[in-house]
């Protein structure tokens, strides 16, 4: 089904002690002189935390930037929906935090499948992010003394999470967006909203531009530059139901993959433990209830599967606080993968609650008794409001019912230490890359990574590429054969989608794909199911390309056509995800293979055989892809079994 390359993939992680790595690497990177920066064009695709911060920072340095997003405004990018917070090693609470400890927690939380060098750099710049955001006017929560407040997130024994009520992502994104719009005002950034990237333009082996479709008019456009920075988010919507926005997709990343960018660790997907359960067949998305709720909420199910009393009538002695029971050291604050599997285990064993039996309680009654309603309301008011809107139940009075749902994808395009993909000149930032979270991301670390990449990494590394290759990068005219070929391919795919005129709606096929992915590649996976998944996805792909119906034309706003293009790419990507899950014969982080667990149902990692990043090379639709391996070395944090007990 696939081939394995013999050669070793090099992540270009600099040598030396990890604590000095980034500083010494920065002094080795080549610089572009201030006067020359304006001569270089950089394309940034996506305007979430990574994209907006990258576009703003590069423009501040003097580069000529073009920023693209598919939404009507850059402020809509899905980073906006992040609720709980952002980690930083500030140690303001004086509780023992440090750069090293944030680094250690992240490597351990990722179940030893991330690069030490990248993670250390992330922890190092985390403090600068908070400084930058506060300077922009981001209204983080503060104490009465006027100084910044912190809360605790999963997988950590310190309080290092900064937050703005339950809307931290919104406030950070609006901060980055305001910096971006300031540069739009100065003319250093040209903004292209309602544009969807459909192809990457490569000239002489170097990424030089993109093909986009103007979603409002249907017109195709080509844009060329000296470097392309992809910040297009994750692929959670391959599962159809997820906490992602409806528009989130893998298309830009997948189009780059098809042109030679390796795709790393696609089966590392994060299932978030606290989401509002599915209510009906028409359900279009799932809504997250922030991990921060686990600071004050206690997770439980009845001790007896036959106990059908309403939750407030079940006395404490008849409740099983199963996270506190199984993991006394971390209790309700275990990492997401652990909490999700524990919920699934209880529900599969028949202890689940609610009409479907596929839910557990998240109960605030103790916290409300302890702190009063007002304190809880101040911390989580907007989340409780949202919960009540969706379920028509008041969580101040009855416990929330929650169940795990697809939330984040650790996998993504492979990048080296400089965040450069396997295509020179193509950089990948934020959730779209694979680099920092290993097999499981800790809560409040996605915002940190997106902004670290955009504010503090790419401004250094893209300059190195331009300084080294700048003079070789001749202007690419619009009639260049590479530009025309990419444009032709994008157009013909759109034409094909419009011409099939079958009987199946795009949404019905997407839902069917989601059922395959969730059923066979969800919280627990096994070889038989994964093999079936590969066959079923291939069959569904054939159904799509022969029976899909996309009404309307390509010369106007056509949301169904947009969706069709994204589903077409998910139907190729989903197969790779399943294939990699099949190949990775171990359990680590969010990747749980039922064949590999211990007696307590904890994940069993296989460091002997799988301590590497798997990066896939495209060879054609339905053709066996090639797996490249980048071995991981753990020098600072020795490999041990992850324990939260």
């Amino acid at each position: 089904m696939f081939q394995v390359a013999d050669s070793i993939l090099d992540g270009h992680v600099p040598g030396g002690p990890v604590a000095q790595m980034w500083d010494s690497h920065k002094s080795d990177l080549k610089l572009v002189s201030p006067n020359n920066k304006r001569k270089y064009d950089v394309i940034v695709v996506g305007t979430g935390l990574a994209g907006a911060s990258a576009a703003a920072s590069l423009a501040e340095l003097g580069y000529s930037v073009k920023a693209f997003c598919f939404q009507d405004s850059p402020r809509r990018a899905h980073s906006i929906a992040a609720q709980g917070g952002i980690n930083a090693a500030k140690n303001y609470p004086n509780d023992g935090d440090s750069v090293w400890r944030l680094f250690y927690d992240t490597v351990k939380g990722g179940d030893y499948r991330a690069r030490e060098g990248n993670v250390y750099r992330l922890a190092q710049v985390s403090a600068n992010i908070i400084d930058q955001c506060v300077a922009q006017g981001v209204p983080f929560a503060r104490d009465y003394g006027g100084l910044l407040a912190n809360r605790t997130f999963g997988g950590s024994l310190v309080s290092r999470t900064f937050y703005a009520r339950g809307q931290t992502g919104q406030q950070l994104l609006l901060g980055a967006y305001s910096s971006l719009m300031r540069q739009v005002g100065t003319g250093k950034v040209k903004l292209f909203a309602r544009r969807e990237m459909l192809e990457l333009i490569i000239v002489d082996g170097i990424a030089r531009g993109i093909v986009v479709r103007n979603l409002a008019t249907g017109q195709f456009e080509t844009h060329t530059a000296h470097a392309v920075v992809l910040c297009t988010g994750g692929y959670g919507n391959v599962f159809y139901l997820s906490t992602n926005a409806k528009g989130c997709n893998v298309t830009a990343a997948w189009r780059c993959h098809r042109r030679g960018a390796y795709f790393a660790n696609p089966c590392f997907t994060q299932i978030h433990p606290t989401c509002i359960p599915v209510s009906g067949h028409y359900q279009s998305k799932l809504t997250l209830m922030s991990e921060s709720l686990r600071n004050d909420g206690r997770v439980w199910v009845p001790k007896s599967p036959t106990d059908k009393r309403p939750p407030h009538e079940v006395p404490d002695e008849d409740r099983d606080y199963y996270l506190e029971r199984r993991y006394p050291a971390y209790g309700n604050m275990v990492p997401r993968d652990v909490a999700s599997r524990a919920a699934k285990e209880r529900c599969d064993a028949g202890y689940g609650v609610g009409s479907s039996g596929m839910a557990v309680y998240l109960d605030f009654s103790h916290a409300i008794k302890r702190d009063g309603v007002d304190v809880i309301k101040a911390k989580y008011g907007n989340l409780f409001h949202m919960y009540e809107k969706i379920t028509a139940e008041n969580p101040y009075q009855v416990p929330m019912r929650i169940y795990p749902a697809v939330h984040y994808t650790m996998g993504g395009l492979w990048v080296d230490y400089n965040l450069q993909s396997s295509i020179p000149g193509l950089y990948v930032l934020g959730e779209a890359n694979f680099s920092d979270h290993g097999a499981n991301r800790l809560g409040a670390s996605a915002l940190m990574q997106g902004l670290a990449d955009g504010y503090f990494v790419i401004p250094y590394t893209v300059g190195d590429h331009l300084a080294k290759n700048g003079t070789k990068l001749k202007p690419v005219p619009e009639d260049h054969p590479s530009v025309q070929a990419a444009l032709g391919e994008a157009k013909s795919r759109v034409d094909k989608l419009l011409s099939i005129n079958g009987s199946r709606t795009v949404d019905s096929i997407h839902r069917e794909l989601g059922q395959i992915m969730w059923g066979r590649c969800g919280m627990a996976r096994n070889a038989t199911g994964l093999k079936q998944a590969v066959d079923e996805i291939r069959a569904l792909r054939d159904v799509f390309w022969t029976q899909v119906k996309v009404p309307g034309s390509g010369e106007a706003l056509n949301q169904n056509l947009e969706h069709a293009g994204r589903v077409a790419d998910f139907l190729e990507f989903g197969e790779l995800l399943a294939l990699y899950a099949l190949h990775r014969e171990e359990s680590c982080g969010g990747h749980f293979r039922e064949e590999h667990q211990d007696e307590q149902n904890e994940a069993k990692r296989d460091d002997q055989n799988f301590c590497y990043v798997g990066a896939w090379e495209w060879t054609g639709t339905g053709q066996p892809p090639v797996l490249h391996r980048e071995p991981l070395q753990f020098v600072e944090v020795p490999l041990t079994t992850r324990s939260y007990k």
Partner: protein
């Protein structure tokens, strides 16, 4: 899920593009679950339209959890529908009754031209932010985050204002299509924080000038905007905007250039 499916009559604005003339079309939709969100109800209608070979209704939406600000819709004449502090994507069909007729229109404002059906162009909001809705601080400039204490009360008020999701309901609800609530939310957030002080006068002058240039109307003082706002932005922010503006006009030494939308950049 309960078994009480509703039958609805939907009168929906259809308009092929910005230049074409629009009109209402009537659709009947049966078996609508009360647990559906309003947008899921439209999804179901669109699936039926596609099956019949008709073009689905275009409407903007993305996060479907009330925070991205992309969804809109005038529902029975109310921006985001009947519930207070609720976006259309968080409105659920249990709010309606079997046999109801629901009228669905796009935002109506000169500054928000229709793109198609229920989709409008709100890029004017981006241009207002671009004129001054920021603190000029380059990445790498910042000093330690705790070196400047901010009184908790100021920070809370700044957060209240910063919660604006930029959906445009305030404009759609206002009979003058004024953008005062939107502009005041950003001006207030930054005026309340010490980080926003150095550019305080220049910011308000430029943002107001751009707002006027984009064709938004003047404030009616009727607070329809606050009633329609899904993020609970208070009209007290408009009072603060007026104070900031007066202060800048009367007391600051910002030159007239700053009061031009694209002047003095």
């Amino acid at each position: 899920m309960s078994g009480r499916g509703m039958n609805l009559t939907l009168k929906i604005w259809r308009q092929p593009n910005a230049k074409a003339k629009g009109r209402f079309e009537t659709y009947r939709l049966g078996n609508v679950s009360p647990d559906m969100s309003f947008l899921e109800m439209l999804d179901v209608l669109n699936e039926q339209l596609i099956q019949q070979g008709d073009e689905p209704i275009a409407f903007d939406h993305d996060c479907r959890e009330g925070i991205c600000g992309m969804c809109s819709l005038m529902i029975n004449g109310q921006a985001h529908g009947p519930d207070r502090e609720t976006t259309t994507c968080q409105l659920h069909m249990r709010r309606f009754h079997d046999g109801d007729t629901i009228v669905i229109e796009p935002w109506r404002a000169n500054a928000f031209p229709v793109v198609r059906d229920l989709v409008v162009d709100r890029s004017a909001f981006d241009r207002i932010i671009s004129a001054g809705g920021f603190v000029s601080v380059n990445a790498g400039n910042a000093q330690d985050a705790n070196c400047l204490p901010v009184p908790k009360r100021d920070q809370d008020k700044a957060m209240d204002a910063a919660a604006c999701i930029g959906c445009g309901a305030c404009v759609a609800a206002c009979k003058n299509a004024s953008a005062m609530l939107f502009v005041s939310a950003k001006v207030s957030q930054l005026a309340l924080l010490p980080q926003g002080k150095p550019e305080r006068d220049r910011r308000v002058l430029k943002m107001v000038a751009t707002m006027d240039q984009e064709g938004f109307g003047s404030c009616t003082n009727t607070s329809e905007c606050e009633a329609a706002c899904p993020a609970g932005i208070s009209v007290s922010n408009i009072a603060r905007l007026n104070r900031e503006y007066l202060h800048a006009v009367l007391l600051s030494d910002e030159t007239g250039e700053a009061a031009k939308p694209d002047g003095g950049a």
